[in-house]
């Protein structure tokens, strides 16, 4: 794919051409000092700010927080439903690698069968120009989720900040076309540029302040060796506010509802929803299959770090670290992973050895073991006693099992 140099002076005229008939989204500083991806009304009077990771992802521009699906009108002859035309060409400029990776994740969710019409309409005419991160921020861990700090795929163009200029690489045919269409803004890459970029990429990779062992956590979940006390601890600290889901660039759950606008007209809307809300799974009549905060958090973290991993071979987390910043209870993915990985092994290790021996001997099932471990963590009783109390094994079973394994002098 094509490589070029774009002088920083040329960014504004370049975007003026590129986004002439599109909505242009880029990071802008608000009057409150927040850095947010925003729609740029006038490229000439806006100062695009690529100095930091924006506080929100670009999720809202393809999957808005609230979106009209259609309007309805009722007459004596029935209903008229008028779908909303939701497409518009868009240029997303200055996206961080995590935020681009999140769009790739949303593509998988929304463009499977059946495709989400409203997402597709916006996504199909979207140009993505990303920027690699020369310096990871305090909460970032995209190195652990393999979604940064620089990307190999997913962008149309990717920039690297070389000081007074950007190194520009194209990742798709669309990117090549852009570079060819406006050659006046680009100049060839020199050996020095290549070297400098390589150097910056290396430094970025070694600049992470957090080490979040996402894959270890996945393994421990897969081995069923997460102590229930981890979920319970997190649940005690969760207020169910949904902030983590709203800020999360890969959280795509939504709810649908109608808003009447007059006695005979109204609109059907969808809006972001969060699995930490207690009403998320509650049904009419009141039954709720995911009824406790513990179950809800378990479901949330398992979805992102286990089921997505199993299904897509990568976690449903892009390591942006934003949930770390937003949760005042500390109930974020990084905390969960840290807790899972830091769990005390001693008592647990012994317990699971006995448990595994009993499973191997066909005396208990993994599910029974898990239940017993749960009780063990709650009561502090020895695992063997719990299994005996549950009436699953006898003292002799345990003794025989251990005797088989213990080497005698």
């Amino acid at each position: 794919m094509e490589k070029n140099i774009l002088k920083k002076d040329h960014v504004r005229p370049f975007l003026r051409k590129l986004a002439r008939n599109s909505r242009l989204i880029a990071p802008l500083r608000t009057s409150h000092g927040d850095l947010l991806y925003q729609e740029i009304e006038s490229i000439d009077s806006s100062e695009i700010d690529l100095s930091e990771q924006p506080q929100e992802s670009a999720k809202q521009f393809l999957f808005p927080q609230q979106e009209q699906l259609f309007t309805y009108q009722s007459t004596s002859n029935g209903f008229t439903f008028s779908p909303r035309k939701s497409g518009m060409p868009t240029v997303l400029f200055g996206l961080r690698s995590c935020d681009i990776s999140a769009i790739l994740y949303m593509d998988v969710i929304f463009l499977r069968s059946p495709r989400d019409h409203y997402y597709l309409q916006k996504r199909k005419d979207t140009i993505i120009i990303g920027i690699g991160c020369n310096e990871p921020w305090d909460n970032c861990f995209c190195n652990a989720t393999r979604t940064g700090p620089f990307l190999e795929i997913g962008f149309d163009l990717q920039l690297t900040d070389l000081g007074d200029r950007f190194y520009v690489e194209s990742g798709r045919a669309v990117g090549d076309e852009i570079l060819k269409k406006w050659p006046q803004f680009f100049s060839p890459v020199t050996d020095e540029d290549e070297k400098l970029r390589y150097q910056l990429m290396l430094e970025a990779r070694s600049g992470f302040k957090r080490h979040v062992h996402v894959e270890t956590a996945f393994q421990k979940i897969a081995d069923n060796s997460v102590s229930p006390s981890v979920w319970e601890h997190l649940a005690r600290r969760c207020d169910g506010c949904g902030g983590c889901a709203y800020i999360c660039p890969t959280c795509t759950c939504f709810t649908i509802f109608d808003r009447p606008l007059s006695p005979h007209t109204g609109e059907r809307l969808r809006t972001w929803d969060a699995c930490t809300h207690d009403g998320f799974t509650r049904m009419a009549g009141g039954h709720n299959p995911v009824n406790t905060a513990t179950d809800r958090l378990k479901r949330r973290f398992m979805h992102k770090l286990y089921f997505d991993y199993k299904q897509f071979n990568r976690p449903g987390c892009v390591g942006c670290g934003r949930c770390v910043g937003i949760c005042f209870g500390g109930v974020d993915i990084a905390m969960f992973v840290d807790m899972v990985c830091a769990e005390k092994r001693d008592q647990r290790q012994n317990a699971t050895v006995i448990g595994d021996l009993l499973i191997e001997a066909g005396l208990i099932t993994r599910k029974q073991l898990y239940k017993a471990l749960e009780k063990r963590d709650r009561t502090g009783m020895p695992l063997g006693n719990i299994l005996m109390e549950m009436g699953i094994v006898t003292k002799e079973d345990i003794a025989n099992c251990l005797a088989d394994k213990v080497e005698r002098p």
């Binding site: 699906l69 259609f70 309805y72 009722s74 029935g78 209903f79 439903f81 779908p83 969710i109 929304f110 499977r112 059946p114 495709r115 989400d116 019409h117 409203y118 979940i221 069923n224 795509t252 759950c253 939504f254 709810t255 649908i256 509802f257 109608d258 009447p260 109204g266 059907r268 969808r270 929803d273 699995c275 998320f280 799974t281 509650r282 049904m283 009419a284 009549g285 039954h287 299959p289 479901r299 398992m302 979805h303 286990y306 089921f307 199993k310 299904q311 993994r366 599910k367 898990y370």
Partner: protein, 289 residues
């Protein structure tokens, strides 16, 4: 300039491509099943929007102004060009529906979900176990099997209700008993004056039956506690968990695997279900303890 016919067709494609767009139907008949359950016969006003389905599938029912809810189809695909939905008054949308009259309009989209395995069930004796509104999706399959004269074995229904006056689908129960197509057995939790029938949980009805496990399948739908009890009972009596089939109810907003509400242990109930055999369910639940 596009020719009118083609334009209309391309517009329709644009709309049908959009899974969120519902199709208008008119309520042509309402059957009062009990004090809280009514069966609505819905006819598509645009015949081109009518769809084919199989028992066990559901639709997203729209009452514009009140939103949408997943409702299983309670009629058999063999019956007419309309569909029936049996709806218990439980929340906002269903209350709005219950206040509507024949001739009024609602909308549906679908059909969604995995149906009952109607081909694999051929030739087998079928034991239906239902509680309350749970008979709705099973009613579709029972009538389907009855219409496929001789393709299915003996049909037995064990149906539990809260009280005798709560017994729903009486017209169906009577018709099934009258033509002998279904061996109907009833029980209630709380008897009322004059009730001569059985009292107790639906599981007690199972004690009366001799089930030929090698050639029987069970189809269950009802409250979760009932389902759990019936599953243990059937497994105890030697039925293979693969032959115990149930259909799950979940909060669903889209019905097509996008909204995330019905996600359960890596499975989407709306797309991968709602019909599951118990072996599959145990594997799903057992995957993570």
């Amino acid at each position: 300039m596009m020719e009118t016919g083609t334009m209309r067709e391309s517009m329709r494609n644009a709309v049908t491509d959009n899974v969120f767009m519902p199709n208008e139907t008119v309520i042509s008949e309402i059957i009062e099943e009990n004090s809280t359950i009514r069966t609505y016969t819905l006819r598509f006003t645009d015949r081109a929007a009518a769809f084919s389905f199989l028992p066990g599938q559901f639709v997203m029912l729209s009452v514009p102004g009140h939103g949408e809810a997943p409702i299983s189809i309670s009629s058999s695909p063999t019956s007419t060009d309309a569909i029936q939905l049996s709806v218990r008054r439980a929340g906002r949308l269903t209350s709005a529906l219950h206040s509507m009259k024949a001739g009024e309009y609602v909308a549906v989209r679908g059909p969604y979900g995995v149906p009952f395995p109607v081909d694999e069930l051929k030739g087998r004796d079928l034991l239906f176990v239902a509680g309350g509104i749970g008979l709705a999706p099973l009613r579709s399959l029972i009538n389907y099997c009855r219409a496929k004269n001789g393709e299915y074995g003996k049909i037995t229904l064990c149906y539990g209700s809260r009280s005798p006056s709560d017994i729903a689908f009486k017209n169906d129960l009577d018709a099934w008993q009258a033509d002998g197509s279904v061996d109907v057995r009833l029980t209630v939790d709380v008897p009322e004056r004059g009730w001569q029938g059985r009292t107790g949980l639906v599981t007690t009805l199972l004690d009366d039956l001799t089930i030929n496990n090698s050639n029987s399948s069970a189809l269950l739908c009802g409250p979760p506690v009932m389902i759990d009890a019936v599953i243990s009972k059937l497994k105890e009596s030697g039925m293979d968990s693969e032959q115990i089939i149930t259909t799950l109810e979940r909060n669903m907003k889209c019905g097509v695997g996008l909204c995330g509400h019905c996600h359960m242990e890596g499975v989407l109930i709306c797309k991968d279900g709602p019909v599951f055999n118990v072996r599959t369910l145990e594997n799903i639940m057992g995957a993570t303890g």
